[in-house]
């Protein structure tokens, strides 16, 4: 642990990751070249997961980095920063991430639901941190910016629309059949 002060900079977050319960990456964003290749990134994630999945302890130092984390059922949320970074800032980012994802998934924080809303999750992370700079850490503001139009419409309603559309389609098809049947009728008569 060196004693030098951190350069005052907006670049605070080194990485954000969401892993599943096998330590596999679902979403992760690395914002600087601490781990230049995906292979190294994934190795680090595995290592991180192995150290954190048992004890729910919120913070760990790993490979000279400070990692804060939270988990729920089968999802693990991580925010990673330099070892000299203010840990409380990292936690504020983590809490925002967790809160936003929780809202997007309607409190149903599970891998399965996350995969259904992966696009929104990507957008949310993009709104929280931009290239290492904390863009916004207020969950309400993020949710407003992600503005879940379309996706925001509850799934049942969306399905309803689809159902209506397909019903209509079916209806039209029936009409067509009847129409063609009608057209064919005179011919049949003629043949007879």
């Amino acid at each position: 642990m060196d004693t030098s002060l951190l350069e005052a900079s907006l670049y605070t977050v080194k990485a954000i990751a969401i892993l599943d319960n096998d330590g596999e990456r679902i979403i992760s964003k690395f914002y600087d070249d601490t781990f230049p290749t995906v292979k190294e990134q994934k190795e680090f994630e595995k290592n991180l997961f192995n150290k954190t999945h048992k004890a729910n302890a919120e913070i760990i130092m790993l490979e000279g980095l400070t990692c804060v984390y939270r988990s729920n059922v089968d999802l693990f949320f991580y925010v990673i920063g330099s070892s000299q970074e203010n840990e409380l800032i990292l936690v504020s980012v983590l809490n925002c991430l967790y809160e936003v994802i929780s809202q997007i998934l309607r409190k149903n924080i599970e891998k399965r639901t996350l995969f259904d809303h992966l696009d929104s999750a990507y957008l949310a992370i993009d709104e929280i941190v931009d290239g290492g700079i904390i863009l916004e850490a207020d969950p309400a503001a993020i949710l407003q910016r992600v503005a879940l139009k379309g996706e925001d419409v509850p799934l049942s309603e969306q399905n309803f629309k689809d159902v209506v559309a397909s019903k209509l389609e079916v209806g039209q098809r029936t009409m067509k059949v009847i129409q063609s049947a009608k057209d064919q009728l005179p011919w049949n008569f003629l043949k007879n």
Binding site: L6, A8, L10, V38, A55, I59
Partner: protein
């Protein structure tokens, strides 16, 4: 639509991850459907998500593939679905670096960025700044300026953050926006404020006056964002580092006032800043430590972690300041978070008293297996520093370290433990036996070859000198039976040392070594045969020369000498004496002959000095025949310290001879002594065999002269009194510069031109390299170079005697051949401050000549 749902159902049925097994080629294929009309937003959105996912999993897109997908994606701008559009922005950013011609979306993005839809604008700005290059930046500059001061916070933040990213490539353009940024800094939105402050600081980073102005403006108040306040604290702390009079600074007051901020984040940042300031006083620390103490009992693990970590840092420099928190820290030993517990313990170890050690060690022992190797190393370091603090407690700590050594752990961790144990053994003679037996146990089951060989070497060195050397033999011999070649070889050497040192063990050692004669590895066999034959001779001198003390030659030098010998075979056998000795760097050499030994603790210098003396003496050719150095005495002052010459005497005892080393220092600045030697006359009639005079003794530069006296065969007659006379010839020299008023050495050199100086430089190597620094009285570099060249009479190479205009430093390369055909190269680095400073490095194939040249220059 139907099709998509069907597919999704299938996937859901298969596994919980619908994206599992997604292949790049498949996704690229699907992305072609972006070209279909009409665009189906949901379907396209899903495909985009897939592309994102595949990219994020680390699949490499080729430039062609990426470009194709990218172009297909641009079609999606036709749709007005907001979700889809946002995903497109996201992917544009992802693909900006891998696809070609990404700037074709510039106009679409510019349209969105200036459009009415706030939702698009912020994201469009960020995407645009990601793809833009310096030429395009000019075109969007106007929009960026507008965006920075936009009233919508997300737009303004996006513009500010993107500007900071742009600073990396186009700092000049961004600098032009500083007025807008300043306006944004007074925004009501806390994030905009934070980003604007960060950008402002970055722009002005190199202008410390502007930074301090900025800081003093914002420290007066007006920052609402805790992030911005943290940033300001950090900037202030950086400024304080440079300030000389810290106490009166308003910045200190600002940071201290932040300790009472309502946000924990800010309080911690302020405390952290105070702790990390250079030479903080106890008074400054007190308020910071007390807020950290409050954090220690916080329910939030991160807060506890941060506080403990910072207190740990305080404990390194001001252990007394932390003692107030000891009670809280002790509660943290049982913290569920092992990192916190470890930090708490190491902090306590630093502040704790001797009496609390036993208890602490017991507590650490219970959870060592749960923490990461990095923390284990921290604990090991803390324990070993504790050991030197309380040497009486060594047994507790040694047992603790030994038990850690038994547990699983990586190489770094084990190495740290072994280092600590070795350190304790060296520092504390009482701990030696216990430590060695722990290490013996460790090598019984050690997977790290380098650690095992290191321990075997240590055993060979220390083991024979313990009261019961026999007990180590079993451990060492086990290695010979069980381990790999490198360890076996080390074990054989170690065994031989026991044999050489301990007479009673010799027969058994011989038996054991005989068994290695048929080893499968060459090195092991060779070593065994070699040692066995020497041990058979049973001569102390041989043992000492070949087993207990290794060769003192430099390995590189030996290699080169042998190589040379094989190229030019001669009748004569290879002479090891021609190989340059493994000498210490010159700087160290100088320290030992320094006039003021009082400046450093004598006992600390003791172990290395003997080695250095041995090397110094071995470097004197006249003493080549007298065998290895047995013992060197401590320096004795022969003169009063106020006299014209200061002479110290060091007595080196050899098997048959005594060498008196006289370190002489000339305290007269207008005289130079030459051919200095000490004439010794003994009452008992001991013969003076050789005298090695010091060639030149300049003002305030110690010189050394040696006198070799042969000891009589009768060992009883060693007490003797010598009367000494210092003989020398005096030369006057210019008292101002210290440069002697005499001619150069021109008659001794032949000027040679070395067309490629550096190659010759490397060729001669560093073995006879000497380095000195001088201050010259000349005022210009040209003059200095002229003087040096004339004085040394050597040839400047590679046009290095010409100094480029307006430079304040220069390197001069000189080459020459000394009489006797010895190549001499000189590299002089000159720097012009008020006067010219010169650092001169001399290389030659003969160490004496290097020394001569170096001293000639002074």
């Amino acid at each position: 639509m139907n099709l998509r749902r069907d597919k999704k159902d299938e996937e859901d049925g298969g596994s919980s991850n619908p994206f599992q097994g997604l292949e790049k080629s498949m996704v690229i294929q699907e992305a072609r459907s972006f070209n279909d009309t009409p665009i189906v937003p949901r379907k396209c959105c899903h495909i985009l998500t897939k592309v994102m996912y595949v990219l994020n999993q680390g699949e490499q897109f080729g430039t062609l593939e990426a470009t194709e997908t990218f172009f297909a994606m641009t079609k999606l701008f036709q749709s007005n679905d907001s979700m889809l559009r946002r995903m497109v922005y996201l992917l544009i950013k992802e693909m900006a670096d891998i696809a070609d011609d990404v700037i074709i979306v510039t106009s679409s993005l510019t349209k969105d960025m200036t459009g009415k839809e706030d939702l698009y604008r912020a994201a469009a700005i960020r995407a645009l700044c990601k793809i833009t290059d310096s030429t395009m930046l000019q075109a969007i500059e106007r929009f960026m300026k507008q965006a920075i001061v936009d009233k919508v916070p997300s737009v303004s933040s996006a513009a500010l953050a993107s500007s900071l990213h742009l600073m990396k490539q186009n700092p000049d353009v961004v600098r032009r926006w500083v007025n807008e940024v300043q306006e944004a800094a007074s925004s009501d939105n806390i994030m905009v404020q934070y980003h604007a402050l960060g950008l402002l600081h970055h722009v002005r980073k190199n202008d410390s006056i502007a930074v301090s102005k900025m800081v003093s403006k914002y420290t007066k108040g007006g920052l609402k964002s805790p992030y911005a306040t943290c940033l300001l604290i950090r900037i202030s702390a950086k400024l304080l580092e440079k300030e000389e009079y810290r106490d009166s600074s308003p910045l200190i007051d600002f940071i201290e006032s932040c300790l009472r901020h309502k946000s924990e984040m800010v309080i911690y940042e302020a405390a952290h800043a105070i702790v990390n300031m250079k030479d903080t006083t106890a008074r400054e620390l007190a308020p910071a430590v007390s807020v950290l103490q409050l954090f220690l009992s916080s329910p939030k693990p991160t807060l506890r972690f941060a506080a403990t970590k910072t207190l740990n840092k305080v404990a390194m420099t001001h252990p007394a300041a932390v003692t107030a928190c000891n009670l809280d820290l002790e509660n943290l030993i049982t913290d569920v978070n092992r990192s916190i517990a470890t930090l708490a313990i190491t902090t306590l170890l630093k502040t704790g008293s001797e009496s609390s050690i036993d208890r602490l060690m017991k507590q650490i022992g219970t959870f060592m297996s749960d923490i990461s190797d990095e923390f284990k190393v921290v604990v090991v370091d803390a324990v070993s520093s504790l050991c030197s603090k309380f040497p009486r407690k060594y047994s507790v700590m040694m047992n603790f370290l030994a038990s850690m050594l038994r547990d699983d752990g990586g190489y770094e961790y084990k190495k740290a433990i072994v280092n600590s144990l070795v350190g304790i053994i060296e520092e504390n003679p009482e701990a030696k036996e216990a430590g060695l037996s722990h290490l013996c146990e460790f090598i019984e089951d050690c997977e790290h070859t380098s650690l095992a060989t290191r321990i075997l070497h240590l055993l060979g060195q220390e083991g024979p000198r313990t009261p019961k050397p026999a007990k180590y033999i079993r451990f060492i011999y086990n290695r010979v039976i069980l381990e790999n070649a490198a360890i076996r070889a080390a074990a054989v050497s170690s065994l031989a040392k026991f044999g050489a040192h301990c007479e009673p063990l010799l027969p058994s050692i011989m038996v054991l070594l005989e068994r290695s004669l048929l080893d499968s590895d060459d090195e092991v066999r060779d070593r065994a045969t070699f040692y066995l034959n020497i041990l058979k001779q049973n001569q102390k001198a041989l043992n000492s020369a070949y087993i207990l003390n290794g060769l003192a030659v430099s390995v590189v030098g030996l290699e080169r000498a042998l190589h040379h010998y094989t190229i030019e075979p001669s009748e004569q056998p290879f002479d090891i004496k021609t190989v340059p000795l493994d000498t210490q760097p010159f700087a160290e050499h100088k320290v030992t002959s320094d006039v003021s030994p009082a400046a450093r603790p004598a006992e600390k210098a003791a172990p290395p000095t003997q080695e250095i003396y041995a090397e110094q003496l071995a470097a004197v050719p006249e003493f080549a025949h007298i065998g290895p150095l047995f013992k060197s005495s401590k320096p004795v002052e022969l003169t009063e310290s106020e006299t014209e010459y200061i002479v110290r005497c060091i007595k080196h005892t050899f098997p048959k001879h005594v060498v008196f080393q006289f370190d002489c220092t000339n305290t007269l600045n207008d005289q130079q002594l030459e051919e200095v030697y000490v004439q010794m006359e003994s009452a008992e009639g001991l013969e003076v065999e050789t005298v090695v005079p010091a060639p030149i003794l300049k003002y305030n530069q110690p010189g050394t002269t040696y006198t070799l006296v042969q000891l009589p065969d009768d060992n009883t007659e060693v007490a003797s009194v010598f009367s000494n006379t210092l003989k020398y010839s005096v030369k006057d020299c210019d008292p101002n510069t210290g440069e002697p008023d005499e001619e150069g050495y021109e008659d001794e050199y032949v000027r040679v031109m070395k067309p490629n100086f550096m190659a010759s430089w490397e060729e001669i190597g560093e073995d006879n390299e000497l380095e000195e620094t001088f201050a010259l009285s000349t005022k210009t570099l040209e003059e200095a170079i002229q003087n040096i060249v004339n004085f040394l009479g050597m040839q400047p190479c590679e046009r290095s005697d010409k100094v480029p205009e307006g430079k304040s430093s220069h390197s001069l390369f000189l080459a020459g051949v000394f009489r006797g055909g010895v190549d001499v190269l000189v590299k002089a680095r000159l720097a012009l401050q008020d006067t010219v400073k010169m650092q001169i490095t001399v290389r030659s194939t003969d160490p004496e000549i290097s020394e001569l040249i170096t001293s000639a220059v002074g």
